[in-house]
């Protein structure tokens, strides 16, 4: 069992979960820093996917550890300003992992992807199934790199017929402990929205997201699955549940403003994410339920409330530390 990106949120939690599973004899954690949950079963290797030698190194590790499954989580959860590194890590890094997996004849590859890759297109149906093409704007590296990584995985599944390739597309993950661009967006005191638009949003709770990966590791479920919570909520309701103030911005202005804020490092995501504040991007989780037996414990609303209660505690603490 190998976990790449083991020090990420999903990686850390998954390593912790696998440590407790007696069916797993050894966990190989690969990242540029060790996961904090690593215990006696975990062996950590420092591999930088942005280095050209990563391929050979990974293949050596796979062979030496006689691993049969790789869980590939080395993706950025939030958009980054370091575009070159992000591209190397996500697109080229996935290539490294899959080449090494093919070389070491791994039995199974589980890869993380996101439903935001479907793109918030005005012509989207209310529920996007796994068959829907990934239409996120290719001009945005955050999406383009991940779409390339998915294409790599699809090519790998085609070239290596015996291998099981599972791609889990999670909705934006929300929960009490995770930090990503969505939680940062929702913990702003003033949350920008698009004037007159109130799209339906969908999240998945962090526990459900981790549980989905565990399911994909425990059983063989080849294919692509949307990992989403039940139910949707309008953006305005999400902001109100989070106790924040929405500031509507006219959408012709928003793109320019968003680009400027991103350039000034003052926003969570580049302007191309703004379509998500205007149009629908909701995935259909039926396939994961039927084929994988994935049962999300939290609905979208409960995930928002769970995140909100933790965020409120953080706010109160902040208030105590810096009294007005």
């Amino acid at each position: 069992m190998t976990v790449t990106g083991a020090a990420s949120f999903l990686g850390t939690n998954l390593v912790g979960l696998l440590e407790e599973d007696e069916r797993v004899a050894r966990i190989v954690a690969i990242d540029i820093k060790p996961p904090v949950t690593a215990q006696r079963k975990t062996r950590f290797y420092e591999v930088d996917f942005t280095q050209p030698t990563a391929e050979a190194r990974l293949s050596e590790i796979f062979a030496a550890e006689r691993t049969d499954t790789v869980v590939h989580l080395a993706f950025l959860a939030s958009p980054s300003h370091g575009l070159a590194v992000a591209h190397e890590l996500e697109s080229v890094g996935t290539r490294h992992v899959l080449v090494a997996a093919r070389h070491a004849r791994l039995r199974k590859v589980v890869m993380w992807s996101q439903t935001t890759l479907y793109g918030a297109d005005p012509s989207n149906p209310n529920f996007l199934t796994e068959k829907h093409p990934l239409r996120a704007p290719a001009s945005e590296p955050f999406f383009a790199d991940k779409i390339e990584a998915e294409a790599e995985a699809a090519r790998f599944a085609q070239k290596v017929p015996g291998a099981i390739v599972t791609v889990l597309r999670t909705a934006p993950i929300l929960g009490p402990t995770i930090h990503n661009y969505v939680t940062r967006y929702l913990s702003r005191k003033i949350v920008p929205t698009m004037m007159g638009f109130d799209p339906l949003l969908q999240f998945v709770h962090e526990i459900d997201a981790i549980a989905a990966f565990k399911l994909a590791i425990d059983r063989d479920h080849p294919g692509i699955f949307n990992i989403v919570a039940d139910g949707v909520l309008p953006l305005s309701t999400v902001i109100k549940l989070a106790g924040r103030l929405a500031v509507p911005i006219p959408h012709p202005l928003a793109h320019t403003l968003g680009a400027a804020l991103w350039l000034a490092h003052m926003s969570e995501a580049p302007a191309s994410f703004m379509t998500h504040l205007r149009f629908l991007c909701v995935a259909d989780g039926e396939k994961a339920k039927v084929k994988m037996g994935f049962r999300p414990a939290y609905t979208t609303r409960e995930a928002v409330l769970d995140f909100t209660s933790a965020q409120r505690l953080r706010d109160v603490k902040l208030l105590q530390e810096t009294p007005a």
């Binding site: 529920f127 004037m195 549940l241 103030l245």
Partner: protein, 465 residues
Amino acid sequence: MTTRTKKTTAAAAAKPKRATRAPAPPVSKEVPAKPQRKPKPKPKPKPEPKPERARRAAAAAPDADPSVVAQIRELEAQLDRLIDEASRHDVSSLDPEDAETWHGEPTFEPGDPVPSDPVPDVSEPSFDAEVTLPIASTTGTWPESGPGPASVGAGPGAGFGDGAGPAASPSYGAGAVPPAPESVFDTARELLSSDFYLRKWGRLAMRGRSEEVDDFGFDPIYDAKLKPVLDFLYDKYFRVETTGIASVPKTGRCLLVANHSGTLPLDGVMIKAAVKREGRDVRWLTEDFIYHMPYLGSAMNRLGAVRACQENAERLLANEQLVAVFPEGVKGIGKLFAQRYRLQRFGRGGFIKLCLRTGTPIVPVAVTGAEETNPLLFKIEHLSKALGVPYVPVTPTFPLLGPLGLLPAPTKWTIQFGEPLDLSSHGPSAADDEILVGKLAERVRATIQGMLDRNVGSRKSVFFG
């Protein structure tokens, strides 16, 4: 539920604040405003060493009598508490004289090598009477605080536990210091802090909307809130007359196919209102440009509109819902007044394929009166491209009176529901037979056209029916 949690967290957030601005004791009446700004004298370095010392002392005698240890603990807690109180007291209400006497106190001179000297050795079990509070006695504001035997005997557990936290202090609650009444300034401060408005906003925020919408965005509370408006439009404004509503099934999937008219898409809302009176919710499919129009689109969505596309319709019908479609689409609402009540092409027969695949009965619907609400005289082609809308309407009132010109004329409406059409005899495979689909679409179109012609012919006045 949210508002309640909000309230409690707000209270939780406010509590520590109030604790820090401790109530002013009676002595400090002459104290001018803002006593907090006064330089804080001694006690800051003090709180740390004492309990630590006590702890060390307790640790140094591990084989001591457990009762002695308990007593030490108790005293330690008491000390903590007293120090805490004293420091708070100093911060909040120290007047200049007090500060002076304070500095004049020999035991607390800055040059004193051992600042904790006045405190007797804590390891001695029998000292509780001597734990005089230098701080309290100096300021003289607490005649019977702390060291009284009653508060010592209050129970070791409680005293220890409470004393540990700086916010909650038992003797404070016991009434040694009477809490100052809420002054006008407190209220004003509360009102002026931005947090107050945020909290109020939070309480009001979820009013008029549900915490959960259904999968397609229908919000029952929002719907109930807007019901009076729809009822007004239905009963008073358009005086809608509905016939043949019995052909709409009470349960199970069904597709209402209606003509589309009237520049503004009000016919969907009126069909919804008509069916709602029979106790069913209808989901109607709207074209993109309405669905993505600011404000209007999201409001329609909360009322039950869904973006028109094959996947959505299939999913709704699979959920046994009642779905209304307008196969004419934008061509229907954007047709000129001269073409009124002439049905446009029925798309590509998508709705027929849908019904064939899912085995759904069709109920044709004819809406009369909507064509005259905003008679469309011209469409400005160039502007529509620039604005990104399918047409810019020119009605007798629209650009002339500004946005007010878009108000619909109060025409008399009739909505006629025709006989249901069952397509299940053709089977799902017939959806691939384009010729049959075309024929069936034409049949539905002819039925609705016939109903329209009859209704338009039989009415005497556009406004009075």
